[in-house]
Amino acid sequence: MIPTSDDRRAQPGGPNRPVEHALEELLAVCIARLIRAQPTGHIAVGAASPIPAAACWLVAKQGAPVRLSLLHKRSGNPFTEGTRELFDLTGQGRIDLFFLGGGEIDGQANLNLIGMGEWPGTQVRFPGSFGSAFMYMMTGRTILFREEHSPRVLVERVAHVSAPGVSAPGVFRRGHAQALVTGRCVFRFHPERARFSLESLHPGETVASIRAATGFDFDAADDVPQTAPPSAEELALLRGVVCDEMLETYPEFCARVFNRKSAA
């Protein structure tokens, strides 16, 4: 069972789940751990989802010496040369980590942000690919994030490749997906074999339930661990100083998820 929008606040459980928390909080903590797992100097965050932004702020508030460039920050926007500066900055190799999602994501980590049916998406049209065809290949690494985990989104083969998960030998590419975080689990990506492996299961999930909800094949060890729940300290940061930083850009998200009751 995955939490739905009507049932977001998971119940407290055993020794690993000491504090009641929202799924969004679990996901932000998951992503924060993936960030901290590798050296990360400079992260760029688009407006796509507030959850990766929360993860980045969490890492920063935990004291990691990370620089955050938030694309859609209105006051104090980091770019003084307009919107092209993000892409130039990334072209320079200065961005270690970026986040991408996709209308479809397939088992080779290809992303489809274009649509379904004939090009350019005559059946279903997504807004478009933004900078993904560049960013995915030019950042040090990418964390893929898509809360919806269903066979509709996680497909065997995307209808259209906005941005390729792996590249042919000789093609200039700085990095790949590090992981795919969904509402059900964390997958690690292995660019050398262009395959995902199951890293951890969110509460209530099993390898079988993930297989059932996933359109692509993936590797799984015999004993896939549970996703560790947020610690009390992580939750306090999220609901306190992280929420403070996010209020201007994501007021609706902050109201819905952090609620501020927890911080009071």
């Binding site: 307009g82 350019p120 998406g121 005559t122 049209r125 807004p127 941005a163 093609v171």
Partner: protein
Amino acid sequence: MTLTSLDAMAASVPDGALLAMPPDNSLPSVALAKALIRRGVRGLRLLGVPVGGFAAEILIGAGCVAEVETSAVSLGEAGFAPRFTAAIKAGSIVMRDCTCPAVHSMLQASEKGVPFMPLRGLIGSDILKHRPDWQVIQNPYGPPGDEIVLLPAISPDVAAFHAVMADEVGNVWLGRRRECATLAHASKRALVTVERVVPGNFLEDERLASGAINATYVSAIAIAERGAQPAALLDEYGFDAAYVADYARMARTEAGFQEWLAREVFAQAVAAE
């Protein structure tokens, strides 16, 4: 200094023009988009720099647009752009998908007067497959097999954006939104709406000069107070999320969109007369 009215500015954009506009986070002239709808412009080829926002969406919905070249059309937090999505499904517009830095690079090529600009990335993306106008060459400075995309220069017929202010010699000021400067440099004409016209010359003020666009690139200026709304304008006013959410709700259907147009575009002109 070439001060004109918003309607005269809209009238100066010919049917079929290649019109380039920034999206909601970088100073679109929504006022001019609405004036273009009222003028009944047809056959526009829109370039979203690097994506399309609210202004692109309403121009598409109003039937003003034949082609769109951009990296996305989106209402941001309010989600998919419903009239854009409907037009793609109906096949009523030609869509040329880009990637954001490609739009910037094609404009910078025109800015520099070079016929093309290289760009990394893109190889292996279906975006490239659907752009027969984009060439791939062996990087002459790279090892064998290192291919790179060359993007042709693009020079819009008309650039349109909203700045904070113009000075008395026709320079405009928009601070850090320098993509609008590149857009003006690259375009044949730049039409700029502003909140106000102020005395003096921004170029004489070291604090303002770096956020100014020299009048040499500015074809016409029209005053349009709150001309970026519902988009934000630097520290002048914020994003009007309720307005866009209301639009997104109404524009789910063609009928709802027409009702919105009547109320928010055509009735506004009557009210202003």
